[in-house]
């Protein structure tokens, strides 16, 4: 998907000052349409960018400096660069080139990776920039040109199934009324068609010739990233026309179901909304990585400490070189350079300090970052490739959008979940309705069933509650309504038949869906699944919506008077659109009888406030039904209408139009205010109950996650009752749990309603505080018993609980509860709750959601998981991981999370181990060489250590190691506790590994020197010099660290074998090959292996016992632990072998 790629990019460079004019959020853009001359004149003042896009990070010219700069922002790399620079001075303990090599390899590898990635981007840019589009030119005809040549103000013609080359203003289309359909898959992932409509005045420009005289001027907002808003005005023939998002065709969306459209280019290239939106996936760092930084600092400290100790001793020793009885004449202290001058021992010590930093540079694992990066990318590939996280129905595999957080998945402590579309399918089914105070609909909901079942049987034996469990065979998606009183035209016989008629009319008319007529049947493209369910229901009950034009909506409906089906057309006057702030939508129509009607549907609370005195006839019954529906886990909406007088409408319409054409930042607010003025004195018709089915496998998944000890919070905008019922349905709430409910609408508070605001606030605050305190005492009194608690809180109370000093006690309470449900919560509160939980618990939080309203939460949480479901891709775009269904979370966390966490933690620990094991042998040797910073090994041994002999096995650990199989991970979810408690990356463990490294180094050094030194090394009487000590010791180190890894690994495939034994073998190969280099290059390593080592039994015997001795401390610790103090994973591993 090219579109997705384009989203993932870095933010575009800030627009040049000239194009932003009035600054961000200004309204200064002027577009001269089809008017090259005026544009040229305008160009003198303002130049808009061309349509060419460049999404590459680097250019050929700046690649080297820029990528180098990126590289050297890492502390470790800077250190190595500094060391490399100093290494050209005489301070260097060994040759500069061997210091430089690891740095060059590491930096080179990273740069190569960058270059390849950027090259791919470049290719895609070239492809996109050279796509063809038809542009109107001076010759008064349309000709093809490349996208990159487009200019602001050009008129372009886009044909069916082509992408729009830039943000266009729709002028006209192949349809008479200037409508067209677009698919915005690449922008927001939504697959439904969206209807766009040109201004009426331009819709007549329907052929190529009509543009000869067409000139217009558009003033509009400056480039911004809001995909769903556009504010502008068109000046055409001296008249001003307001523009809206309805007329804007966005780049990267596609023309569908329309032969062609004409449009004016408004935003080009990086000014387009999609490019303005482009950004990197949020950059988050995992806990492990943050701790890793600390360890690196710790290693730096160790480095400095060792170097300082060495320098101090060196200073003292150097000073003593000249003293009586200790005059080391063979060093010529009287003629030494400043680095060794006994007369200036202080200075020499300082120089030695610098030298030591270089010598012990191998303590800092230079290849750690790149190794971890590679490992994580491979881990992500495994996540992406996991067939068990692939959703057949939507054809979507899991996607790790960032590889930074793999190991964080294994440490999740709290999950904050959205409800709609996340736990549920977000495919709505119309189940029940209440019309005129009478409840209709006999189906029962999942929540009701689950609740009933819960009482009878143990929840463990519950069958999957997915689909097809009710007796009816559901034939129509979105419709699950059975009531003989209404179906098959029987509604006519109901007492309130007029109300029923009006009710379904509202459902059939008050929406923004588009009918798709195929042969005889009609289906609908709707922006929200609720609407689709409503329109479908209306159709099934005989109010078939089949045509929508810009000005009208047509239905097939039953006429009460004539007694048969007729076509009725409603003139559509205004649509007052739905927004989450308004929580309602209305349309104003003129019927064939010339009646003016306003149809409104919306959240019950909002609608009930706006009822007229005589519109409240059924309010009590309806409220009662709404409560019932909510308890049954249904989403409810209230439906109402009102009649308007001509006069009233005319006055309001003028006001509304004025509001709509206002061009300023408060535009939306002004429009909302205007809309509110007509949405009043409504007459209540009834309410709907729509069921959102739980996704497949959700209760089982939640069970597993709860077993794993993960706390699950549901943050939903639903009503308390609905939320509680969904909670029961998905087993988040269980019968035996004690529910603590904190809510506001208790009687005392309604009494207070008339008091002044401050007093109310205080009183509410006091109440919430009391509730929290009570709950806390309840929880603490039952501590130790098996009672678990569930906390349910609504949005209003939450607002108080999270402010005014209550948040800590609230969060403590919440953390003590097994499950928490927050209902009636706004997107902003979702993010706020997430942040507070993260901050208070200091544990890893994971947010999962599917909609635009979850974006804040996903970005705030340590890990954001987006569900790539029906509600578009916005959540996915801002997430770190994308999965198709909630149930995959179980596998993502318990299997991949567990593995990745263990792998990364072990890998980092091992990295430090191997570097310390190596570094300390150097230290011990130096300590026995008068701290003169003489390396124990040949230069190239040292530089190859991290790069060649120990780099690949540790990657095998990071990529492939598995302590237990995926089946066991899922069978014993409590394994996840290891991650939550961070036992694999706790400080004791890290320090333990470091200590192990030091012990290994000490054993290797002392055993080697004692074993092979002084006496004859071989039977021919020759003795071992420093070159043989170096080779033997290095052999032991390579063996020991690789065998240590082999001991640690719990999963051996041929890859591990190849890499581990291959690395060791490679050391010998290296030694042989290097030994054949001329002595001036190989120096002490010249023929050392073939000539001296191979034929010496002492060499082989020593390496054997030294390696075993070096491994013995760890191994005996490990065996003691597993035999007598096993950790959970040990037992499970053992249990498994016991079985098999």
């Amino acid at each position: 998907m090219a579109g997705e790629r384009r989203w993932r990019r870095r933010p575009p460079p800030p627009p040049p000052a000239s194009s932003s004019g009035g600054g961000a959020g200004g309204y200064s853009r002027v577009v001269h349409c089809n008017d090259a001359a005026a544009a040229a004149a305008g160009a003198a003042r303002v130049v808009y960018r061309g349509n060419e896009v460049a999404t590459t990070k680097y250019t050929v010219a700046n690649f080297v400096p820029k990528s180098l700069f990126e590289q050297f922002r890492r502390a470790a790399n800077v250190f190595f660069l500094a060391v490399a620079c100093v290494s050209f001075s005489p301070l260097a303990p060994y040759r500069a080139v061997s210091i430089l090599l690891p740095l060059v390899v590491v930096v080179g590898a990273t740069m190569a990776k960058e270059a390849v990635e950027d090259w791919r981007r470049k290719q895609q840019d070239i492809e996109v920039n050279n796509r063809k589009v038809k542009v109107y030119n001076e010759a008064n005809s349309f000709h093809e040109t490349e996208w990159k040549r487009l200019r602001v103000g050009d008129v372009v013609k886009v044909e069916k199934d082509e992408f729009f080359p830039a943000d266009l203003l729709l002028l006209s289309s192949s349809y008479e009324d200037g409508i067209c359909y677009v698919e915005t898959m690449n922008l927001d992932g939504e697959t439904n068609l969206k209807r766009k409509q040109s201004l009426q005045i331009t819709s007549s420009l329907t052929n190529d010739q009509s543009f000869q005289k067409f000139k217009a001027l558009i003033k509009c907002e400056d480039p911004n990233d809001k995909l769903y808003s556009f504010i502008g005005t068109m000046y055409f023939n001296g008249v001003q026309y307001p523009l809206s998002p309805q007329q804007i065709l966005l780049r990267d969306s596609k023309l569908r179901n329309t032969q062609y459209v004409y449009g004016i280019v408004i935003f080009t290239g990086h000014d387009t909304k999609v490019m303005q939106n482009a950004m990197d996936p949020p950059s988050k760092r995992s806990n492990v990585e943050r701790r890793m930084d600390k360890i690196i600092y710790l290693l730096f400290t160790i480095l400095v400490v060792i170097a300082s100790i060495g320098s101090i001793f060196f200073g003292i020793k150097t000073k003593g070189e000249m003293s009586e009885g200790n005059y080391m004449w063979y060093l010529r202290p009287d003629k030494s350079s400043i680095f060794f001058d006994p007369r200036r021992a202080g200075l020499a010590a300082f120089c030695h300090f610098l030298t030591s930093l270089m010598l012990y540079g191998c303590l800092i694992p230079i290849s750690l970052y790149i190794s971890i990066e590679i490992v994580k990318v491979l881990q992500s590939t495994f996540i992406n490739q996991d067939q068990k996280m692939y959703c057949e129905e939507s054809d979507k595999p899991a996607r790790a959008r960032t590889s930074n957080l793999n190991e964080e998945l294994g440490q999740v402590h709290t999950i904050l979940s959205d409800k709609t579309g996340t736990l549920t399918c977000n495919s709505m089914e119309f189940v029940k309705c209440s019309i005129g105070g009478v409840a209709y609909g006999s189906g029962s909901t999942e929540a009701e069933k689950s609740y009933r079942k819960d009482k009878e049987i143990n929840y463990f034996e519950l069958k999957p509650l997915s689909s097809g469990f009710n007796g009816y065979e559901r034939l129509v998606k979105g419709f699950n309504f059975y009531d003989d009183r209404l179906m098959n035209g029987q509604w006519v016989k109901e007492p309130h038949s007029e109300t029923v008629q009006m009710f379904f009319r509202v459902l059939a008319i008050c929406h923004t869906a588009i009918p798709v007529v195929e042969s005889k049947s009609v289906s609908y493209e709707a922006e929200s699944p609720d609407e689709a369910a409503f329109v479908t229901t209306a159709r099934e009950l005989g109010f078939e919506f089949f045509q929508r034009t810009q000005m009208s909506i047509s239905l097939h409906e039953f006429d009460l008077k004539i007694g048969r089906k007729v076509i009725r057309t409603y003139k559509l006057l205004n649509i007052l659109e739905f927004s989450s702030a308004r929580k309602r939508m209305s349309v104003i129509v003129r019927t064939e009888e010339d009646e003016l009607l306003l149809f409104c549907k919306g959240a019950d609370g909002v609608i009930f406030e706006k009822l007229s005195k005589d519109g409240q006839v059924f309010e009590a019954e309806t409220k009662c039904h709404i409560n019932e529906y909510s308890e049954a886990g249904l989403r409810t909406l209230a439906v109402a209408y009102r009649k308007l007088t001509e006069e009233e409408y005319r006055i309001w319409n003028e006001e509304f139009l004025a509001a709509k054409s206002s061009v300023n930042a408060d535009h939306d607010m002004i429009v909302d205010e205007a809309a509110e003025k007509i949405e009043k004195d409504l007459i209540l018709l009834g309410a709907t109950g729509v069921e959102d089915r739980l996704q497949k496998g959700v209760p089982e998944c939640i069970n597993k996650l709860a077993e794993a000890g993960i706390k699950i919070w549901i943050l939903t905008g639903d009503k308390l009752e609905t939320a509680v019922n969904i909670g029961f349905a998905c087993h988040l709430l269980r019968k035996e749990m004690k529910n603590i409910v904190i809510k506001l609408d208790t009687p005392e508070i309604s009494v207070l309603k008339d008091g002044d605001k401050e007093a109310i606030k205080m009183a509410i605050n006091e109440r919430i505080a009391n509730q929290i305190r009570e709950a806390q005492s309840q929880v603490s009194s039952s501590k130790g018993s098996s009672v678990s608690f569930a906390l349910i809180i609504d949005g209003n109370s939450l607002a108080y609980a999270l402010s005014s000093g209550l948040e800590n006690s609230f969060l403590d309470l919440a953390v003590d509860c097994a499950s928490v449900i927050c209902c009636r919560i706004s997107p902003k509160q979702k993010a706020l709750v997430t942040r507070l939980v993260k901050r208070r618990t200091r544990k890893t939080t994971l947010a999962i959601g599917d909609g635009a309203n979850d974006v804040g939460m996903l970005q705030e949480a340590d890990i954001g998981v987006g569900i790539s479901g029906v509600e578009g891709m916005q959540a996915v775009m801002s997430s770190d991981f994308a999965i198709a269904q909630f149930r995959f979370l179980e596998r993502l966390l318990l299997v991949h999370g567990h593995w990745c966490y263990r792998r990364i933690a072990a890998m980092i620990c091992y990295f430090f181990y191997k570097n310390l094991a190596f570094g300390f042998t150097l230290f011990w040797f130096e300590a026995h060489a008068l701290f003169s910073a003489q390396p124990a090994y040949n230069d190239w041994y040292i530089s190859f250590y991290n790069v060649a002999f120990t780099s690949l096995p540790v990657m095998a650990l990071g990529v492939f190691d598995k302590d237990v199989s995926s089946a066991i991970c899922l069978k014993f979810p409590s394994l996840h506790q290891d991650g939550i408690r961070n036992i694999f990356f706790s400080w004791p463990r890290i320090l333990g590994w470091m200590l192990n490294g030091i012990i290994t180094a000490t054993i290797i050094y002392y055993f080697t020197t004692n074993a092979i030194l002084d006496q004859a090394f071989r039977s021919d009487g020759r003795v071992a010099g420093s070159e043989l000590l170096g080779a033997t010791m290095y052999t032991c180190v390579v063996w020991a660290v690789n065998c240590q890894l082999a001991l640690y690994l719990s999963y051996f495939t041929w890859i591990q074998h190849l890499l581990i034994w291959g690395s060791i073998f490679f050391w010998y190969i290296f030694l042989v090959i290097y030994g054949f280099f001329p002595p001036t290059i190989s120096t002490t390593a010249y023929r050392v292996f073939l000539e001296a080592c191979v034929s010496s039994p002492l060499y082989w015997l020593s390496s054997l016992f030294i390696v075993v001795a070096a491994l013995l401390p760890y191994f005996s610790y490990l065996t003691f632990q597993t035999m007598f103090f096993p950790k959970y994973h040990h037992s499970i591993q053992r249990a498994k072998t016991g079985d098999s």
């Binding site: 200790n326 289906s523 709860a706 074993a1011 003795v1023 591990q1056 001036t1080």
Partner: protein, 356 residues
Amino acid sequence: MNPSSSSTPRRSDGATRDSSNPRKNSNKPKYSRFTQQELPACKPILTPAWVITAYMLVAVVFIPIGLASLSASESVVEIVDRYDVECIPEHLRVDKVAYIRSSETKKTCTRSLSVPKHMKAPVYVYYQLDNFYQNHRRYVKSRSDKQLRYKSKEHDTSSCDPESTTSNGSPITPCGLIAWSLFNDTYKFSLAAKALDVNKKNIAWKSDKDHKFGRDVYPKNFQSGGLIGGGKLDASIPLSEQEDLIVWMRTAALPTFRKLYGKIEADLEPDDKLTVVIENNYNTYSFGGKKKLVLSTTSWIGGKNDFVGIAYLTIGGLCLFLAIGFAVLHLLCPRNLGDPSYLSWNRDAAARPTKL
């Protein structure tokens, strides 16, 4: 999401993708054992049996090796004689440095060694220095490999400071501190008044002779400066034949080291009295170093060193002990594998995740 509902033509299939290739390229990840992380593998797990076997195995392998090495080491006969103090006439021992520096004093000294056991030829003769830092960085670096190897690189002495050139600027061959401080004590052996030949051929590594020291490079300006360090070299013999120098220039790893002096290619019988005439020239008195003369035979394991054998025996014994210990403990209190009641957090009830 809901398999049973398929009547609405919601564009969930072909239409969403490019109409040119409908449904052809499913996004389903391809199956391979690699990507699904299901490669055949062995999963070693520390079961008691496995642990005990591992320890036993180590013990079984190590103890015999230890015994063999120890006996090899025991079979080596070694005579060590420290002579640095003894070789100074008693009245001069007050100021040893002055004694060694003085050109007047007589440096020859005679030592007598008795052979404890039969020593089979060849008997290797070593000198052992103590507190001599041949591994000091300044010392190690002070040589020129190129100069030693190639005649044409005679002037390549930059790394040899402060012993690179004579006071008049002509290069010293071989240059550097290592060569300059060449050990120059000599030993002459005689057994029952009969001189014992010390074979000084073939004491250096072959690769050194062939490839590190040039056949056409002759000592030049050596030890001709103001301060004489150690031994002098015969300027008529090429460096590749100067085996004492070659041995000396393979720097030792630690401040106490032995270097091969030569070989006595005759068996020495028990209670043989060896007379050694030592030219005690080398100054270790300035820095308090010791000098020892070592005669040693070798076995397959090399010289006399019990460390390897003892280490093998210790490790083997330790492993045996651990194996037995574990076995006994395992028999005394056998534990059900994977018994959850042993789990750390089951003992710690509060930490247990919510009981479901």
